[in-house]
Symmetry: C2
Subunit: 125 residues, 2 copies
């Protein structure tokens, strides 16, 4: 189950962007966050830029680099959006899992082998 | 948001199979249900067979054809599984929509144009 927050044709928030926000929050750097996700700096930057462009205020701010690099951090909005997305994910997954449990009494333990077409379901049916 | 009930590598229930079950219930025929979904009889039959093989008892039964064709209908299990799946779909969608509403205050009305890389997010960040 994948939840995405769409704005026009842009993905404002989704599983990958949420993971990237967490990595930036942890590493304090877009490039380090990208590396931790086996993602090029450019790819990570593009995702951050897409997120930032979808919200009234940026989710990530980065200081100018210079000799020792700038570093990046989540804004208050970034922290809020990440928390809300994770809450939405957890709640919907918990609900879906609860419903999925209702199928356990009728589901087979393993799928039966395919039937021969027409064997028990006639073509006229 | 797409919810699927998986059993091993088989999809026991999903959006397309749920629609097919409803069409069979409405038309009383696998072939007519398939036609109503622009699906070949063979495709519809394969989906029904996959569903039936994933549950302890079949979701769909079809009488032998003969001159006037057999017809098909949902079993009690088929009715139950369809109802549970639709309930799971509705509940999770309602919950996700409620959470999505929480983003409206921070989302932009439309995405801003792409930034030039490095313009406000330094490569060292």
């Amino acid at each position: 189950m994948t939840l995405r927050v769409l704005l026009a044709d842009s993905i404002a928030m989704g599983p990958g962007k949420a993971d990237l926000l967490e990595a930036i929050d942890k590493t304090g750097s877009i490039s380090a966050a990208g590396r931790s996700m086996d993602m090029s700096y450019r790819r990570a930057w593009m995702l951050v830029d897409e997120m930032n462009r979808c919200f009234k205020t940026p989710l990530v701010t980065a200081a100018k680099g210079g000799a020792h690099g700038g570093g990046a951090q989540l804004t208050e909005t970034g922290q809020q959006v990440l928390a809300r997305y994770r809450a939405m994910e957890a709640a919907t997954k918990q609900l879906a899992d609860a419903y999925l449990g209702e199928f356990s009494d009728v589901l087979a333990t393993t799928p039966a082998p395919p039937s021969k077409a027409g064997a028990d379901l006639d073509h006229a049916g």
